[in-house]
Amino acid sequence: MGLKNRKAIRILKRTVASALAACALLCLAGCGTSGWRYTPVTDVNDLEGRRVAVLLSWEADYYLTGREDMEILRYDAVSDMLMAIKSGVVDLMAFDELGAKGVVAGAEGLELVEEPFGYTGYTLYFGGGEEALRDDFNAFLEEYKQTEAFTDHMERLRSFDGETYIPPEIELTGTGDILNVAIEGEGFPRTFMEGGAAIPTGFDVEALELFANSRNYQLVFYVSTYENMVYGLQSGLYDAAAGYLTDLNEEEAIASGLLTSEALDIVPLNFVQKNRETVNLRTAET
């Protein structure tokens, strides 16, 4: 091989190596962050081409599945969804109103899209052999919905600010049979553990406590996760389960051998998007 060829190869080699190094550095420095194209949503029926984050197997996931006008990205945790919306990977996050308000209150730079895109009812699940208990709970719900306690429940639900849940004072008075109930421990504000005392509380817990008092049950709560609640109900470990259990997947729950109650309350489903003021500021800067 001639001297000229060798020199040419060496130059080529150095050029490729330097180009690779430059690409690697540019890539890690974030050269791909230039395409800021976000525009806030004004109409929930016009979401063509939008990327929407939902929590896997939560109500918004069930509700939006099948929508072909938008791209649905299913995440496992709210923190992942927050990262996705803040970095621009998704345009919107979809929750029930309570969850949406909680996210807006807890994270900066986000706002609720006021117009709901749907509604969901929250129910209780019961084990396969608990028809009598389920029917009794449904009968209780009918009575409960006529009371002032329920009016107060709904008022507090509607005015929930995403941060503050003030439970009514309910003293457990049941002395009869034990009712084993699994609850989602992190389902604020429907089912969660109150502060250091680790006392189960929340909108669903209120209803369960009133039910137990009215039917003289002794209530025993088990803090669990969604999967464990389902397996626990299937195996007979628990009599009932509560905590963000939506009627949108009622069919599957029944097919899995579980029973569902009537809806305790109906809650809107809302999108959360980047705060319009923040977006406008950033757009103006760029």
């Binding site: 091989m1 060798r6 190869i9 060496r10 080699k13 150095r14 490729v16 190596a17 330097s18 690779l20 190094a21 690697a24 890539c27 890690l28 974030g30 050269c31 791909g32 962050t33 230039s34 395409g35 800021w36 194209r37 984050a53 896997l56 197997s57 996931d61 599945t65 099948g66 990205l73 299913r74 995440y75 496992d76 992942d80 990262m83 996705a84 970095s87 621009g88 990977v89 999967e227 389902v230 997947n249 599957e252 729950a253 097919a255 899995s256 579980l258």
Partner: protein, 226 residues
């Protein structure tokens, strides 16, 4: 039996859920093949840069490679999706491919470097003595030995790349593992979905093993003929 039938119906037929598995299969195959093929190119270039006579370039790329190799795949993908390409219009799928390509490229360059190092310097010197050009020495002496030494590890890396695609579900890309999670979350049963994807992964792995075996056989036969 009736329960199993109903479970199978819910897993595959209801709401056309078999399509979720097919989408997952397609995405897993695309992620694996594209990132492995591009990773091979990246690996060759990285190996070339690492074996460069320019010490600064070689050192830089050696460190860059070890950074890529030591970083967990999930973290690397999150950096690509949320930081590097976060505000670009690039779909998450392609951001993930970019991350997987670099990850595969780093490991492949290591494999190629080990392959090149199996050739003793004495052999290369001998080729020079025989009057071969650098290209001829590379083509007839270095390359066959490198390929022969690297092929088994190259095959294993393919399987590793396929396995690494199973983390992309956390970034909301529906691969086979995620497809099983999505369907299980609907049917409230984990077993049927998991068995389905286990069989699918096994079949892809077995097919690729056969393909690589054929390539290795062909390569050795070619070597004997030459």
């Amino acid at each position: 039996m009736g329960e199993l039938k109903s479970l199978l119906y819910m897993t595959f037929i209801q709401e056309d859920r078999y399509k979720i598995f097919l989408d997952g299969l397609g995405n897993t195959l695309l992620l694996t093949f594209i990132s492995f093929i591009l990773g091979t190119a990246v690996g060759i270039l990285l190996c070339w840069a690492i074996l460069s006579e320019n010490t600064a370039v070689s050192k830089f790329f050696r460190r860059f490679r070890s950074f890529l190799m030591e970083l967990p795949t999930m973290v690397l993908l999150m950096i690509f999706v949320y930081v590097v390409f976060g505000k670009s219009a690039m779909p998450v799928f392609w951001c993930v491919i970019a991350g997987l390509t670099l990850k595969a490229g780093a490991f492949l360059s290591d494999i190629f470097e080990s392959g090149v190092n199996t050739v003793s310097p004495g052999e290369i010197e001998a080729t020079r003595t025989l009057g071969m050009t650098r290209w001829q020495a590379f083509r007839y002496i270095v390359l066959p030995q490198t390929v022969s030494a690297a092929l088994p590890m190259y095959q294993s890396q393919f399987v590793s790349t396929m396995q690494e695609t199973s983390v992309v579900g956390y970034l909301a890309v529906v691969d086979m593992t995620r497809a099983a999670s999505v369907v299980s979350s609907r049917t409230l049963d984990a077993v049927v979905g998991l068995v389905t994807v286990t069989v699918m992964y096994f079949i892809i792995g077995a097919i690729m093993k056969q393909i690589f075996s054929l390539i290795v056989k062909r390569f050795h036969r070619g070597g004997e003929t030459a």
